[in-house]
Symmetry: C2
Subunit: 217 residues, 2 copies
DNA sequence: TATAACTAACTCACTGGTTCGTACATTTGG
DNA sequence: CCAAATGTACGAACCAGTGAGTTAGTTATA
């Protein structure tokens, strides 16, 4: 995983396992996200790095394990950012709207990640299931939403049967769909969902949608 | 496409172009939806039909053209059903809720179609763009929503900046997400979104979400 | 009505290029 | 000098696509 303990990495090492691994992962993420698992070529990934195919097998063992490593890296990065969101000091309505909008921004900025998720779903989550790293990665967001919902019910701002997972799903669905399905949607309805000129309105709509729903009737 | 004009197809024909074509398409849809475009094997598709690989090339020319044919068939079927939805006699609020719920049911019942769409998006809509058949397939739904929104604004039931495409996107996002992302979502949050016991609640939530949003503040 | 001529539908066997993975030799850093 | 890291070259399986020939079914003709 990392350098053997006790080594201080010099700036210009010719041989640097960590750097090589990192570069492979980075390139692999790009290629897998672009071509899918079956469509990606190990030879191409190798050609796009400063190293060789041999090193991919040296470090990752197989195409599949490389793909799993890419998934783990991408998910971990994304969730790490998510964890830094601080909306605890806001009133429930403002808090959930802010969370929704930050989630929107986040997905808008991590399109490659969304593609990886879509690819993994096409494979029925076969690979993600093999990784223990990713098992309990979702709970922080859920805890946050649970607290917001609870506060909103107490204050009377919210009136809903939805639980934290439901709310997270509503938000994710909106944020993921406009990126993940942009091409077929664009082909059928002639609107580039992810074009910059629609961003602000969509962001507003999402916040409004969630808040309206939670307020109830 | 069809039998030469003037022939009446007998019940037990050994050679039947239409039947062969249809069987190839059916099997191909299953395999493409299961394995993706690159992951699907022409040989496997052939083995799952009563015909041979040679016939696939005889009728469809290439793997890609077969895939496009599958897409066209799937989209056309789905939109045909969509067109039969009749909510014109309902009041705006009831109409949009019914449309949302019927869309929900529809997506719930056509999971293979959703997978094909996801696959096509991974390929950035390259293939769907090549098909003129699918170019103006979206307009009927849009017309319907436009009319409902218009009526709702007139009656004062709706107060929203969203247009028909926005509303259709909101509905689709919810309906597609819970099917398309069920595996990664399940792995991360431990809830089988598409399990029958959650269906009714989710359906209700969608309708409520759309109606609440359109009502405004 | 019998059959010859014709064409669409179909089978079989094959190929050339690709692609994952590896054996083995070599180099580098500590 | 040793182990980790790297380069080269290759093999075996796979896989999209095809060349060439065959059979079923239809239509024209006697």
């Amino acid at each position: 995983m990392t350098s053997p303990s006790g080594t201080r990495p010099s700036a210009a090492r010719q041989r640097d396992a960590d750097r090589t691994r990192a570069e492979i992962l980075e390139v692999a993420q790009r290629v897998f996200a672009r071509d899918g698992y079956a469509g990606a070529r190990v030879d191409e990934i190798a050609d796009l790095t400063r190293t060789t195919k041999r090193m991919i097998y040296y470090y990752f063992g197989s195409k599949e394990q490389l793909y799993i490593a890419v998934l783990e890296k991408a998910y971990t990065e994304v969730r790490t950012v998510e964890r830094t969101v601080d909306v605890a000091h806001l009133a429930p309505t403002a808090a959930i709207r802010t969370l929704a909008e930050l989630t929107f921004d986040h997905h808008d900025a991590h399109r490659e990640f969304i593609k990886l998720v879509a690819i993994e779903n096409i494979h029925r989550g076969e690979h993600i299931r093999k990784s223990e790293v990713l098992a309990n990665l979702g709970t922080p967001v859920l805890d946050l939403i649970t607290r917001i919902l609870e506060a909103g019910r107490v204050s009377g701002e919210f009136d809903t049967e939805a639980d934290a997972i439901d709310v997270h799903m509503m938000i994710s669905a909106f944020c993921v769909f406009r990126v993940a399905n942009q091409h077929t949607f664009g082909a059928l309805f002639g609107r580039e969902m992810t074009a910059p000129q629609h961003r602000a309105k969509q962001r507003r709509m999402l916040g409004e949608m969630i808040v309206s729903y939670l307020r109830g009737s």
